[in-house]
């Protein structure tokens, strides 16, 4: 993404692993919101998300979101494990993703997007 030197001192760990964890959690949160919205909006998606019938679509939505989070975290960690990245920008993107994910789980907001 936007790797850049941001040396903050001798003996200091690079911020890449922390940035990867933060952005990974944000991607997982957004994925949760997107899957929740998709399951609520399209009946086909709703059926596809039923991994375990007693829990309904929530079983698939949450499992896939956790999968996306771990995958994103793992890939970003590999890419940034020994690098310093522009954390201010990553923080802004991460919080935007977190808020978007949060809103996509909020039923009145989802209803508004669905035109109800």
């Amino acid at each position: 993404m936007d790797a850049a030197p941001e040396d903050e001192g001798v003996g200091l760990l690079p911020n890449g692993p922390g940035a990867a964890a933060i952005l990974g959690a944000a991607i997982g949160s957004l994925a949760l919101g997107v899957f929740s919205f998709a399951g609520d909006t399209w009946p086909g998606m709703r059926r596809a998300f039923i991994f375990w019938d007693p829990s309904g679509p929530l079983s698939g939505e949450s499992t896939l979101a956790v999968g996306v989070w771990l995958l994103a975290w793992g890939v970003l960690s590999l890419l940034w494990r020994s690098r310093n990245v522009r954390l201010a920008r990553i923080n802004r993107i991460s919080f935007a993703m977190l808020v978007a994910g949060f809103l996509l789980t909020f039923p009145p907001f989802v209803d508004m997007l669905q035109g109800q």
């Binding site: 692993p17 933060i22 997982g28 007693p54 309904g56 079983s59 977190l98």
Partner: protein
């Protein structure tokens, strides 16, 4: 005095994992901030630091237990479908709430939001625990990372509060009771 197995598991889910986790938040935010202030007592080898790593890992563990028990044990009881012709919906909380326009909102807003928003918390708290364990006192010098961790911790608090509030309200309106009963105290 009796308690059903479902009551007990729901209590464990809500109070045992959820409320305990909620209570731990103020400590987490305070200590992350204190650690990042660079005090000597929070050096990476100090007992305080080790204890706080355990504290954050426990919080993440409680968050996972809360969502997993909620999604795979309590929620199936909540959304159970009654056999055709059932008139007593007391053991079918979702259908009980939806059967009355005055209570349907508790499901349509409360449960629909709670079931998803609660999943933010374990993801976020696992990240927070990882970052603290990796960086510890160095967070004092990684200020942007410390700010992100504090912000995400606050977001996890909000999502847990939403889940806990609606969980408590739903359980007063339509408890997930039923199943075998445990006698806690006999009649004197």
């Amino acid at each position: 005095m009796v308690l059903s197995v479902r009551d007990l598991v729901t209590l464990l889910h809500g109070i045992g994992f959820g409320a305990l986790f909620l209570l731990a938040f103020s400590g987490a935010i305070g200590v992350i901030y204190a650690t990042a202030a660079g005090s000597e007592i929070w050096s990476s080898s100090s007992i305080h630091n080790k204890m706080f790593r355990f504290y954050l890992l426990s919080m993440a563990g409680f968050a996972w237990l809360a969502v997993l028990s909620g999604t795979y044990i309590v929620y199936p009881w909540y959304r159970a479908v009654p056999p055709p012709g059932t008139t007593d919906l007391s053991h079918y909380p979702q259908k009980l709430l939806l059967s009355n326009p005055m209570t349907a909102g508790w499901h349509e807003l409360g449960m629909e939001w709670k079931e998803h928003v609660s999943w933010f918390t374990p993801i976020v708290m696992t990240m927070v625990a990882y970052v603290f364990i990796t960086y510890g006192p160095q967070l004092a010098r990684h200020r942007q990372m410390r700010n992100a961790v504090l912000g995400f911790t606050a977001a996890a608090f909000i999502s847990t509060f939403v889940g806990g509030f609606f969980g408590a309200m739903l359980n007063t309106r339509a408890p997930t009771g039923g199943g075998p009963e445990i006698v806690l105290m006999g009649h004197k």
